[in-house]
């Protein structure tokens, strides 16, 4: 009986189990001993079925991150700067969003896992329609990603988690080539939550994602037809990014005080400070790099 009850903690059977095992070894091959130790240091609260209350499954995630880790190490060869500035406990990572595909978010998450000390699991706030997508919704949930409602964010911050927010949303992600490295309009929601929960904000600048898929022209009528936020025309075709070199810059933590339900103008002023911090890191990052691909 005992054997039967504990079975699900062990490797699942069948093809899926074998795929999971193979992916996990790939993860460990890419990350080496160091990553194995880091993963062992992450101890999310989990029940006898291996998940935390939000559905984050560390064992599953070890397999699911393999391709992302490959992009991080081999394809984009991500370089991080200033990751030691991440404070312990709850934190909001506010970053620029670019590159047509939200790979910048995945790369920041990998940096937090592979470089930060102690290793952190980033919980991103995913779009509210993501739960309607089969497979994607399940994979993201098991990997610790959560639907971006203010209540979910509040709860995770209260639990001391690191949350990643792209205040530009698709405005940043799908902007066209001539607007590269120009921050689009920021939403105010993250600032409300930061004030309400007294959470430090770390501005993050990602350099290199803009060039992975330059949006030469936005086919708006086609996007509208298929219900996408935009339809970018890129040199390689949409799903394939160019192997640019990613540089991720973490800024000094910023702390704000004030009324979370205050006037928008007041919030806007604070958001402006975060935006300026990111924009200035972007400017230096772009100016200092020698090459887009190296």
């Amino acid at each position: 009986m005992a054997g039967q009850l504990t079975r699900y903690q062990e490797q699942p059977r069948g093809i899926l189990g074998r795929v999971k095992g193979a992916m996990q070894s790939w993860t460990l091959k890419l990350g080496g001993n160091e990553l194995e130790q880091r993963l062992n240091r992450i101890a999310p609260p989990q029940n006898e079925y291996g998940v935390d209350p939000f559905g984050f499954d560390l064992d599953f995630s070890k397999a699911a991150i393999a391709p992302v880790l490959w992009l991080y190490k081999k394809y984009f060869r991500v370089e991080t700067h200033g990751i030691e500035k991440i404070p312990a406990g709850r934190v909001l990572l506010i970053a620029n969003h670019s590159g047509q595909l939200p790979l910048d978010g995945a790369m920041i998450a990998m940096a937090m896992l592979c470089e930060a000390d102690p290793p952190r699991v980033v919980r991103s706030m995913v779009e509210k329609w993501v739960p309607t997508l089969p497979f994607v919704s399940t994979i993201l949930a098991r990997a610790g990603q959560v639907v971006g409602t203010p209540e979910n964010c509040r709860r995770l911050l209260a639990a001391g988690e690191a949350i990643q927010v792209f205040p530009e949303g698709v405005r940043g992600l799908n902007k066209t080539w001539e607007h590269r490295y120009q921050l689009q309009e920021f939403g105010l929601g993250f600032m409300r939550l930061a004030l309400e929960t007294n959470t430090p904000i770390v501005p993050v600048a990602v350099v290199g994602a803009e060039e992975q898929a330059p949006n030469l022209y936005d086919l708006k009528p086609l996007a509208k037809l298929i219900g996408f936020p935009s339809f970018p025309v890129t040199p390689t075709g949409l799903p394939i990014p160019l192997p640019t070199k990613y540089r991720v810059f973490f800024g000094e933590p910023m702390r704000f005080a004030g009324d979370a339900n205050g006037e928008d103008a007041e919030l806007q002023r604070k958001v402006r400070q975060v935006k300026d911090a990111i924009q200035s890191m972007l400017r230096t990052g772009v100016a200092q790099r020698q090459h887009v691909f190296w």
């Binding site: 939000f54 919704s137 639907v147 409602t149 979910n152 709860r155």
Partner: protein, 333 residues
Amino acid sequence: MSSGEEIPDFTVEEAPFDDEAPVALHAGGVVITGISGNLGRTLAKLLHKSERVIGIDRRPMRGKPKDLEVHLIDIRRKKVEDVFRRGHVRALIHMGIMHDPRLPAREHHTFNVLGTHLVLDYCARYHVPKVVVLSSASVYGPHPDNDNFLTEDSPLMAASRFAEVRDLIEVDMYAQQFMWRHPEVETVVLRPVHIVGPDIKNAPANYLRLAHPWTLAGFDPMVQLIHQEDACRAMQAALKPGVRGVFNVVGPGEVPLSAVLRELNRSSIPMPHPIARGLLHKLWQYHLVSFPAPELDYLQFLCTVDGSRARKDLEFKPAFTLRETIRSVLPSG
């Protein structure tokens, strides 16, 4: 509702009330509507050791202990008032709510909504100090943009995708309205997650008993279950003097639907969601299944709630573990 003339009648019947004596609390009976249902019998078994239980149900109660008083009346009947008029009712636990999607909407609508109106109004008229209404966490409804842990303040959106459940929402809303209109009555609305157990035959428990349950391919929402005995313990906890308000009642935690089905050794059939709804609807129309198509939402989206208010104010803690709760639907237990 102004029933001033009833009060002298009541005071004559009621023995002089002494706040100091703890016996006085037990002098009054606890009325349970829907006592003959499977959950009702579990509750009666739990309460009747410490309370004088008075049951109301139109169905006879199987295995009724001799000392248990059960009135075989439909709660919409005027005769129900007699149970309250006789006095000595210290609390009402209203769980006489039915949810049978096969019945015509009018039947369960009048039974649920009208029945709730009537019994709650008797409580106000005859000065019953405590009312506990058993609602359900399903009133929030499964939705793609739900919070992972819905609090008691979340809007009750279940009917937006499944119109047949609107009477369950109306019952919950009426109980809340009653709470504000009658501050002298301590009203408690309980919204437990899916109740399962060896005796329970509701949709979630029946689903988990299927050998080949459908799932929706690519969807694996977190689910919350509570054991029937834990749900009854929560109702008992709600009887505690001083407690009022709306409470989500959560069992031993959250778990992916797939893990529940694995624990029960079910071989599930993953259906592509675009065709599952239409197919289930057809099967339902031909009476081949007992699950209406909108219930597929529970296999696709979250409808999970935050039970911390009940943990704190009701001091409610489930006694069964997650594994015991899941396995409670199995025949031998």
